[in-house]
Point group: C2
Chain length 146, copies 2
């Protein structure tokens, strides 16, 4: 399990937020912990809100903005125009496959893809600050599975 990874990001988040002069209220604490939960990928503000015992839309949006501004979360605007967030951890760097049938996102990593992106940036004379790759399609079901 990557309990360790989760705690590392939580610690990092707390440290970064403190240094920025932010204080830990109930809403922020709950949001940060939710984002760090295992298997969480591309959560919307609404989804976070639904899972919070307490918390108002404004707290959620404000906290997410804060986290995004500090580089603690990634923000991805999906095809439906709704912003989705996930923790930004170098050790969990990944991209997403979106099933066009269900809309479900699946994370994946690929070394060759990363190298290709670095190469493009070099060729274009760009100092990279971030990159997103989204691939859309349908899972091929062959006889060997399900």
């Amino acid at each position: 399990m990557d309990q360790t990874l989760r705690d590392r990001w939580l610690a990092e988040a707390d440290r970064t937020l403190s240094r920025a002069g932010r204080r830990a209220g109930a809403a922020r604490t709950a949001i940060v912990e939710l984002l760090a939960s295992d298997g969480q990928c591309l959560l919307t503000a609404q989804e976070l809100l639904d899972r919070l015992p307490h918390g108002s839309p404004s707290s959620v949006y404000r906290t997410l903005d804060e986290l995004f501004a500090l580089g603690l979360v990634h923000r991805l605007n999906a095809h439906d125009g709704v912003a989705r967030y996930e923790i930004a951890d170098p050790l969990r760097h990944h991209h997403h496959f979106i099933d066009v049938g269900t809309g479900t996102p699946t994370p994946f990593t690929d070394e060759a893809l990363e190298r290709a992106i670095q190469a493009v940036a070099r060729r274009l004379g760009v100092q990279l600050s971030g990159h997103d790759v989204v691939i859309r399609g349908r899972k091929i079901l062959d006889e060997t599975e399900s």
Copy 2:
């Protein structure tokens, strides 16, 4: 110049729309022609509206939805959450570099990147229906330029 490319897409668009039972009104015609103009990349509905002599928000959004549903345009949700459209032409396939300073998008193509994406899809067992790559950063200005 790629006048030829433009006309090819325009013809294709008209044909596809007709086959879908759509009719060519003033608004749609203007929108389609604007999209096909040279150098147009990632236009917002608002930008289109501003450049239309006539046309209402509803016509613009409805036409863009129609074009998107028929696969005639790509829709990209930028970081600001506003949808941007550009014509979908296999011969103009490209991705985008977004300058984090100005927000300006610059199109680019890269063969190695395309191959990497195809390889990922194969590895994941995914039949690709589309993919987007966005790289964000800052242009490096060295002594040899500007």
